[in-house]
């Protein structure tokens, strides 16, 4: 996945986008219903959507969204909450996933108001691309300092709500929120390079194409 400059009017694309957040990190916002996880090396082509620098199969497992639920299917060794997995298994709202010998992932659906889920690496392994985790974006993305958010930003004074309509990402207005330096009064679509600011901190959207 490489970031590309998209026309300002284009949608964010089915592969989703990256959100660079000041003081927090970079998150992959994944739009497709299926996310493949696998091993790889930095600088090398990676077959998986979420490549991890670890001794894993190139397509080690898949997370699939089906309506309200998520399932994990695996081709390589996987353990969920201490139970070895050999076939499709439904993922609860929170789970610890181990792939291979030592890759630890945390899986959470922090808000009952959103079907979106968060997948991040807990072990010392690093993703191939410079991201801190993947958000499987089903409908809304909640960012803020409180509980029940997908991305925790301790220093943000207000929550940020992004929501998905088809393959387009929108930003919900907030009192202190500025989109590209302008206050917004209604939901606005986000495009490549959109800069969302709340107070002194900002987040930048970067469209990713396969």
């Amino acid at each position: 996945m490489t970031p590309t400059r998209s026309p300002a009017t284009s949608a964010t694309g089915p592969q989703g986008c990256r959100l660079w957040i000041d003081g927090v990190g970079c998150w992959q916002l994944w739009f497709a219903d299926t996310l493949t996880l696998g091993g790889g090396a930095a600088g090398q082509p990676c077959e998986a959507d979420f490549g991890i620098q670890a001794a894993l199969s190139r397509r080690h497992c898949q997370v699939m969204r089906s309506g309200e639920h998520y399932q994990l299917s695996t081709t390589g060794p996987a353990v969920i909450d201490g139970q070895p997995v050999t076939e499709n298994v439904f993922l609860a709202s929170a789970a610890n996933i181990r792939l291979g010998n030592d890759v630890q992932l945390s899986w959470t659906r922090p808000s009952i108001l959103s079907r979106s889920a968060v997948l991040r690496i807990c072990s010392p392994h690093r993703p191939i691309s410079s991201i801190d985790g993947v958000i499987l974006l089903a409908d809304t993305l909640l960012i803020g300092s409180g509980a029940g958010v997908h991305i925790t930003c301790p220093r943000w004074t207000q929550p940020l709500v992004l929501f998905r309509r088809q393959d387009q990402l929108f930003c919900q207005p907030q009192p202190e929120l500025e989109l590209d330096g302008q206050r917004i009064k209604a939901p606005q679509p986000l495009t490549h390079g959109s800069l969302i600011s709340i107070g002194e901190l900002c987040a930048r959207l970067e469209v990713v194409t396969p």
């Binding site: 660079w20 957040i21 000041d22 003081g23 927090v24 990190g25 970079c26 600088g43 010392p124 392994h125 690093r126 410079s130 801190d132 390079g193 800069l195 600011s197 002194e200 901190l201 900002c202 930048r204």
Partner: protein
């Protein structure tokens, strides 16, 4: 204030900023990617550039797995300096500590400590002191611990103790001698001691509402080692010694001792009270012109609460003498104010005895009782969620609540003493009869206690909700209003009798201020308590940062205000003056107070 450079900026040739990481004391730090794809942290020097540049130059060619590598120092087109550093993607120790509010697992602590000791020892062996070791500067890169921000490091001069006019570093982890501008490698030992304490307990050994308060605690307050596992108390206690010469002389020896204590290779005992770190005052820490410790001024043990602040100032003494002369003249003229003398004299003696009792008796911690209860209740969440200022606020609120609990025995003792010294005079003034009236005594105790509670609880509630003391007197007036109603009901219940009162106003509108048996009416009580709480500036008697803990002039001022109220609005003079005096004494003695001498020195 927004960060200077937005994402995708290229202020430095060859690097694209992707996001801001944080803003520190020396400048902004960004996450950037080089044109060849290398992740780096870029630090823009905005303040103290000379200090940091000097430090960075010393560290440019250092290479150790437990140190964040500095790649280069470059200037941008505007002449600003940038430090190009290794980007460490893992958690900071700060984040890990927040994850374990009750304390981190020992094995995890061991991993972090070993990394810091290895990296810090490498620096010390090259004559460099980090000076700003803190959880926010320690990173985990997978299994490797890395010390960052070594740009703040300071080269150890030949004298090892060079004076530094500028204080750098973070106050929570700052060794006491830093206040004197001394930066030996013992400051890093001390900082690591604080960090281990925080890792073990989830909270800081020295916390406070202000920088001055925290520094004061570093200088004078012994850490509470009882919260640590017994086998680690001695080691951490030694690392947190106020006197740098009594600490471990290197990070390596500290790390070895910590490891041994952790694994039970020796048998250290819990630190007995007598061996707790000795408090050192500023005077104790005085150094000679060469920077060496003055041997004639050794550390000495001091009580937890100093008597400083009890003795009136020269102006206070003048005020007392003037008040005494005035009172004597009133006695001579028989104006009716002579009854002021016994309570004032008793107040002065009682106040000193009470403070001596508080400082030396096992009840010394009673005032902090509520604070401790609040602390333990919040232990799970407070350090992970609440910022230090919030924690300090809660502690002060707890101290106010503890003070309210203390008022009951104190008011009881003072009243008992007053009646014991001059039973007939006191009772005659209060009831018009020389016979002992227990109902009146109980009423005086209850009224003074309720007045004290109101005066102590108003700032506590304000602190809790607004984070500061009330700035206006309206809350006190409202408190007095409600209190008046309560006290009038109590007076009616106890059926107290008072002598007839004469004031300029004996009624307000159609409502008399006196009721049956010459007892004040409900309106009389309401007027008195409201005016007493409103007209007197009670904040000056309860603020933790007031000039002195106890001021007899403030008691006299309160008595005069009460007397003036009764002179204008009919209310039993003796009752008013005695309750006002008891309240003033009680709130001053019970409310939290931080010694001014140390505040001033900071």
């Amino acid at each position: 204030m927004k960060f200077t450079f937005p994402p995708e900026s290229r202020p430095l040739d060859g690097y694209t900023i992707k996001r801001a990481i944080h803003r520190g004391g020396f400048g902004e730090v960004y996450y950037a990617v080089s044109d060849s794809g290398r992740e780096v942290a870029l630090k823009l020097l905005q303040h103290n550039t000379e200090v940091e540049l000097r430090g960075v130059q010393q560290c440019l060619n250092l290479s150790h797995p437990n140190l964040v590598t500095i790649f280069n120092v470059q200037q941008d087109g505007d002449g600003d300096h940038w430090i190009v550093m290794e980007f460490v993607p893992g958690d900071t120790l700060d984040a890990v500590i927040r994850r374990y509010p009750q304390g981190m697992p020992l094995e995890l602590i061991r991993k972090w400590v070993n990394g810091v000791v290895a990296g810090g020892t490498y620096l010390h062996q090259r004559g460099i002191v980090h000076r700003d070791l803190k959880p926010g500067n320690i990173f985990s890169d997978g299994e490797t611990i890395k010390i960052g921000d070594i740009g703040l490091s300071k080269f150890i001069t030949h004298s090892r103790r060079s004076a530094q006019t500028q204080s750098v570093g973070t106050v929570y982890y700052m060794a006491p001698e830093v206040a004197k501008g001394r930066y030996g490698k013992e400051v890093d030992v001390y900082a690591l001691g604080v960090m281990i304490y925080e890792m073990l307990t989830g909270s800081l050994p020295f916390d406070g509402e202000s920088t001055g308060e925290i520094l004061m605690k570093h200088l004078s307050e012994p850490p509470d080692l009882t919260r640590l596992p017994p086998r680690l108390q001695r080691v951490i206690g030694r690392a947190l010694e106020k006197d740098p010469t009594r600490r471990f002389d290197s990070l390596e020896s500290f790390g070895t001792a910590f490891e041994a204590a952790l694994l039970g290779r020796d048998e250290p005992q819990p630190v007995p009270a007598a061996n707790r770190p000795i408090e050192v005052t500023f005077a104790d820490m005085s150094t000679d012109s060469a920077g060496a410790r003055t041997s004639a001024n050794p550390p000495r043990q001091k009580p937890a609460d100093s008597l400083t602040g009890l003795l009136p100032s020269a102006r206070g003494w003048m005020f007392i003498v003037a008040a005494g002369v005035l009172a004597a003249s009133q006695v001579h003229s028989g104006s009716g104010l002579e009854f002021v003398i016994p309570p004032v004299l008793f107040a002065a003696g009682g106040a000193y005895l009470w403070l001596l009792f508080l400082q030396n008796a096992p009840f010394a911690g009673m005032r902090d009782l509520a604070s401790r209860v609040l602390s333990s209740r919040d232990a799970v969440r407070r350090d992970s969620v609440l910022p230090p200022r919030e924690r300090a606020k809660r502690r002060i609120v707890g101290q106010y609540l503890g003070a309210a609990a203390l008022t009951v025995p104190l008011v009881g003792l003072l009243t008992l003493g007053l009646i014991g010294i001059a039973p007939q005079t006191t009772m005659e003034r209060l009831t018009g009869s020389t016979e002992l009236d227990l109902a009146m005594a109980a009423f005086v105790v209850a009224t003074s206690t309720l007045l004290s509670w109101t005066i102590l609880l108003i700032p506590a509630l304000y602190r809790l909700h607004y984070g500061e003391e009330p700035k206006r007197r309206l809350p006190y007036a409202l408190g007095g209003l409600g209190l008046g109603v309560l006290v009038s009901l109590l007076a009616e219940y106890l059926m107290i009798h008072t002598p007839a009162a004469r004031g300029v106003f004996e009624r307000i509108g159609d409502h008399p201020l006196s009721g049956t048996s010459d007892m004040p009416s409900a309106l009389g009580f309401i007027v008195f308590t409201t005016l007493l709480l409103c007209l007197r500036d009670w904040r000056q008697q309860t603020l933790p940062v007031r000039a002195k803990r106890f001021s007899i002039s403030k008691v006299l001022g309160t008595i005069i205000v009460a007397w003036l109220i009764t002179a204008i609005f009919s209310f039993p003079q003796s009752l008013a003056v005695i309750c006002a005096a008891l309240t003033s004494i009680t709130v001053q003695l019970c409310s939290p107070w931080y010694e001014r001498r140390r505040r001033g020195a900071l």
